[in-house]
Amino acid sequence: MSEHILTICYLVASVTFILGLKMLSHPATARKGNLVAAAGMSVAIIGTIFLPQPDGTILHNYGWIFGGLLIGAVVGTLAAQKVKMTAMPEMVSLFNGMGGACAALISLVEFDHVSKELAADPSLDISHIQTKVLIIVLGLIIGSVSFAGSIIAWGKLNGKIKDFSFPGQNILNLVLLALALGAGAYLVIHPDHSLLFYGIFVLSLLYGVLFVMPIGGADMPVVISLLNSFTGVAAACGGFLYDNKVMLTGGILVGAAGTLLTILMCKAMNRSLKNVLIGSFGASNAAAASAGVAGHYKEVSLSDAAMLMSYANKVMVVPGYGLAVAQAQHTCHELEKILNEKGVEVKYAIHPVAGRMPGHMNVLLAEADVSYDKLLEMEEANDEFKTCDVVLVLGANDVVNPAAKTDPASPIYGMPILDVELAKNVIVNKRSMKPGYAGIENALFFQPKTSMLFGDAKKVLQELCNEIKSI
């Protein structure tokens, strides 16, 4: 009787995962969807621990299990609550890596079990063992790649690891992957070569590192999303291994949804997944693109900028990663309020991939209590730029680069951008003239309409506030 209750628990959990994902994809229900999935997960975990398994056994080693759960829960909660808004994408990457590592560890333990079984009784049904080894090896490869890749992605996003590539890296990567898969196939046919298993483990880790290394930091969200779906598949391998339906459904669900999400993210940047992975943001490419852009830019003083803005009818703010780094969202909101008091209409133009993750700017501005209806999506914003007197670009670069429209040689050619040039004046706040994340020059900065306001976004905004107040 009670083993059926576990089945019901798993059924409930599977349904909550599907419902949760469904609700997560609508703004109004997203938060509830997350809680629904979390509740389902708790049911599955508690059920697994206390209820008899399908084969009738009850799990033991409760001390170890609860110890692990406690440590993981405390560390996970603290880390997730302490993390700054700007650092959330790398946090997600780190957690994803933990999931991948978990899958790889399960494979390590289970392979050890299988080897021992095989050594004790060589006459075992070989096809049964082979199926198991196949799944274990798949879980190991996918889990390890996901783990190593996520850690590199995490390091890249928080600036600890720099882009690194060398000629022929793509070929080396393919060779590594082929070696790991080939060794895996050999191991499935000859399951007694247990040393080979650890070789595959090392190869997969190496592949994960080298696979993410050359991809530019701006593309990390796409990579994380892809690795996310990998971990889903690795979890599903575990489900196959234990004939555990909730792991199977949850894993495959995330694998499929994650893959689609990856493609959707690429589409938002108007790039193909292949283009992101094989990488077109190479150094040579960027150099070629920047050669075409040169000229003089003009700087604007703080008081001039303040004057311009306080006598405008409408100001559009274009936030970018610079705003996030400087943690200037609250100051930005303050500037908005001060301008409103002077009768200036202020709106925000949000590019879907501004910042380091899609939705980054929405989250950031929402944190500073900027009203939701002031945030314009790209299409709406592009319709309104021509009625704006001033566009204030805060640490955004590639998303306002006209080269995406005009220069077929540019690596970002074809990406939809915010047409800030349509406004009467453009003020660009940046820390320096250094190119943005994609490593390409921006012709916008050299246009006669554009004036540059150098400095840290928070400091500049603070000073702008003071200037405008004193006018």
Binding site: A13, S25, A30, A37, L59, M98, G258, T259
Partner: protein, 103 residues
Amino acid sequence: MESILNWISANQSIIYIVILMVFVGIEVIGRVPSVLHTPLMSGANAIHGVVIIGAIIVMGKAEPDNYLALVLGFLAVILGTLNVVGGFVVTDRMLEMFKGKKK
């Protein structure tokens, strides 16, 4: 060939689940607005933390003298829990930012 066909017959319910789940996964998030890409990725990240169930099973079935299984299993439980708990909490924090900002 024969063995592959046998294998498919023996595992057909699992194969059905995989195929259906692929379609469900794609269908369910097909119309997500780009604003929600990151929270959705984070939520999906938490859901694949279901791999923790596997870690618990490894741990719960380990013999008391099998130190490899005990140590690796323990580590797997910690990492899996990090994935689940951290994933859901981070997603909730992201989505909290949107709360009450809509009419």
